[in-house]
Amino acid sequence: MGILSLNLFISALRLATPIALVALGETYSERAGVINVGVEGMALAGALSCAIVAYFTGSPALALIAAIGIGASLGALHAVWSVYLRADHVVSGAAVNLLVTGFALFLTRVIWGWRGTSPSAPTMNAWILVGVGVFLIALSQVYIFRTPWGLRLRVVGEHPRAADTAGINVYRTRLFYTVLNGALCGLAGAFLFNNLGRFTDGMVGGRGFIGIAAMVVGNYRPLPALLAAYLFGFVDALQMRLQEYIPSQFSLMLPYILTVIVLAGFLGRAQVPKALGKPYIKEQG
């Protein structure tokens, strides 16, 4: 049957999962007004901590918890920098990425004596995480648009002063959703580890940034972002098959080229939250 088999669509779903999880996390934090480009690092930290805990305890469940916890902590770090100390969001996120990349090299070396990789460690079935991801995304669609908390979230990112007068704590809201973003990135990292069975330092490989692109294409809505992520996952799966026919150096570029093209088309159209990236300063005095 050639390239387009049922298998292709199924592996596309697997490849889409980390992208979709990052897109969901970023949707939450940007809706609250916080740009987080630290998603790459947060996912990588999730994958690494998952590998370490799985390797030493042999428990994939504990490893999962560790991944989420580390992601959330990095989210908190980013929130403290950008929301409370009013650092530039992009700079703070980039700092997270650098920090994690350095740590990953260091820790793999110290623990296993290898540069940037781990030996294989116990995993759980990655399909469980695919299911969890899809469930969370569907739930978030309802949460953001149908619940009081979702409404508050949207107001905080659009008009923080209006939120403030309505008694909503803008800072705490931003902290909460940035931590949530980190946790979801950690989950994405955990998926990557369980999918491959070990850690390598290039395993996130731009999927965090592609996740942000999927969020933009989905116009800050979880379900459309999932569809966008699936499209990226599909192209990724496709390029793997194409490697039989064309040099892998070319086929590997496909998902990234697609990202650039799609983003160019959607960037202008997305309804970016009004207060995105702007620090909120309470009326003083």
């Binding site: 309802v142 149908r146 619940t147 009081p148 979702g150 409404l151 508050r152 949207r154 107001v155 659009e158 008009h159 002063r161 209006a162 939120a163 403030d164 007068t165 309505a166 008694g167 909503i168 309804q271 009004k274 009326e283 005095g285």
Partner: protein, 501 residues
């Protein structure tokens, strides 16, 4: 409120103000631009903390730490710049923070019923499911008032509510205010229009330079008396333009101009007009008849779909505002926050905005002449009596009226050939209006041509040598001074050509 003192760096905004409000009263708050009205009310609403002074609510001393606390005390405020999220619906904007719930979900049905009940009670028509960005300013204001009432406001502070309304809307607002009063609620009404204060208020308090200069009952007040209290001297309410002779040179010529609004609807349809030297051409019309888009198309801020614009001999259709300025056309925009000033920039930076590349103010493309800029700003602030906390204070900290003065100062100081002015006196106090009118007449006397767009018919009739009436995107009549009565103009504005037959 007793002895309220509030200092900002460089200004004493409130210098020990006593202010009281009783149930069932409408209390007018008047004062010049920068007198401290907004600051005083923001303190009552919990936005600012007073440096000194005490606040009593229902006889009990209270500290109002935040607007949220104020709202819980039953105090609501409608700001001049609305606190609404344009992308959300009316329902969502009103609900946020006080959402009715159905399990974990927002109960839209219950919310809609509550809104409808309020709409019914106060006669404030709005569609709960409309997006706020699709509403007119008047409708947005209704949403703000409804929002405050939904949150249980017993005291409602309205900061210059009528500045953005047309006459019919003002009437509707007044009837809402009367309903509130009958229910025993209290309303603070800030305005610069003295006749409105006299019409709707029970008591009136006048502030001057951060002090309360007197509270009197509306029945014993007169416009002249109030104006004098505000400014500290006699004020004239009208200016009479002295006749000047035009040389018949066309300074601005618009030929068959058409343009679309932001949604792509054609709202300017084949407008032609000329502005001569030594002339003020007024454009009268009900808001939303294409005046805004017409001016933007002339000013180079909106691409016309057809037609030409000429300044003097030069065709400037679709050219940038910068080119237009170099041809001697200046624009005093309607939205001072969006187009007039950069609020986070300092007064001096704003004072040279658009001129910052002139050799006077810049050393090549990379460096500024700071001292020249500062001297220029100093001069403008002095000549146009803009009251500012300091030249390096951000424009955001100026009171509304002083922001407008700063824009006028910047634009009129360029010795323009053509002035495009939209609602130039909106939000100005009586002294400020007088000042703007004088400046326009001075520019006219010196030979400039002025295109004045205003919703205030009295202003247009007083200043303009000719009046063009705009209705549904077309100029339906051009009349010379004195050719039509206010009533006839009003009819033309409301019904177009068919009105006078």
């Amino acid at each position: 409120m007793e002895g309220i003192v509030k200092r900002f760096p460089g200004v004493l905004a409130n210098a020990g103000i006593d202010f009281s409000l009783s149930w069932g009263e409408v209390h007018g708050l008047l004062g010049e631009n920068g007198a401290g009205k907004t600051v005083l009310m923001s303190i009552l609403y919990g936005l600012y903390q007073p440096d000194q002074g005490r606040i009593f609510v229902r006889g009990k001393e209270t500290r109002i730490r935040s607007p949220h606390v104020a709202i819980q005390l039953g105090i609501g405020m409608v700001h001049q710049h609305f606190m609404l999220v344009p992308r959300l619906t009316v329902l969502e904007n009103m609900a946020v923070g006080w959402e009715p719930r159905l399990g974990p979900l927002l109960d839209r049905r219950a919310m809609r019923e509550k809104i409808e009940a309020l709409v019914e009670e106060y006669g404030l028509e709005v569609d709960p499911d409309a997006k706020v960005e699709e509403l007119s300013v008047g409708e947005q204001q209704r949403v703000e008032i409804l929002k405050a009432l939904y949150r249980g406001a017993e005291v409602l502070i309205l900061d210059e509510p009528t500045a953005v309304l047309v006459e019919q809307e003002v009437e509707a607002l007044f009837s809402t205010i009367r309903t509130l009063k009958e229910q025993g609620k209290a309303v603070v009404f800030i305005t610069h229009k003295l006749h409105e204060a006299l019409e709707i208020c029970d008591r009136i308090t006048v502030l001057r330079k951060g002090k309360n200069v007197g509270t009197l009952s509306a029945s014993e007040a007169t416009e002249e008396g109030l104006a004098e209290m505000m400014v500290g001297r006699e004020v004239v309410f009208t200016v009479s333009p002295e006749p000047v002779k035009s040389e018949g040179r066309v300074l601005l010529s618009v030929e068959d101009l058409s343009a679309r609004d932001d949604r792509g609807v054609p709202v300017v349809r084949g407008v032609s007009l000329q502005v001569y030297d030594h002339e003020i051409l007024g454009i009268a019309g009900v808001q939303g008849n294409g005046q805004k888009e017409l001016v933007e198309a002339i000013a180079g801020l909106r691409r016309p779909t057809s037609g030409r614009v000429k300044v003097g001999e030069h065709d400037v259709t679709g050219r940038s505002p910068h080119t237009l300025a170099s041809r001697g056309l200046v624009h005093i925009p309607e939205d001072r926050h969006l187009r007039g000033l950069i609020l986070t920039f300092s007064v001096e930076e704003n004072a040279v905005l658009g001129r910052h590349r002139e050799p006077r103010f810049a050393l090549g493309p990379w460096a500024q002449r700071r001292s020249a800029i500062r001297a220029h700003a100093q001069e403008l602030v002095r000549r146009f009596s803009v009251s500012v906390p300091g030249l390096s204070a951000p424009a955001r900290t100026l009171s509304g009226g002083n922001q407008q003065r700063l824009i006028l100062a910047r634009e009129l100081s360029r010795a323009p050939q053509v002035v495009l002015a939209v609602q130039p006196t909106r939000g100005l106090d009586v002294g400020g209006m007088e000042f703007v009118w004088e400046q326009f007449l001075k520019a006219r006397k010196e030979g400039a041509g002025i295109l004045l767009v205003s919703m205030d018919l009295d202003e247009v009739m007083m200043l303009a040598d000719r009046i063009a009436v705009m209705y549904q995107g077309e100029i339906v009549a051009v009349l010379r001074r004195g050719e039509a009565t206010k009533r006839e103009l009003g009819l033309l504005m409301l019904r177009g050509k068919g009105a006078v037959d």
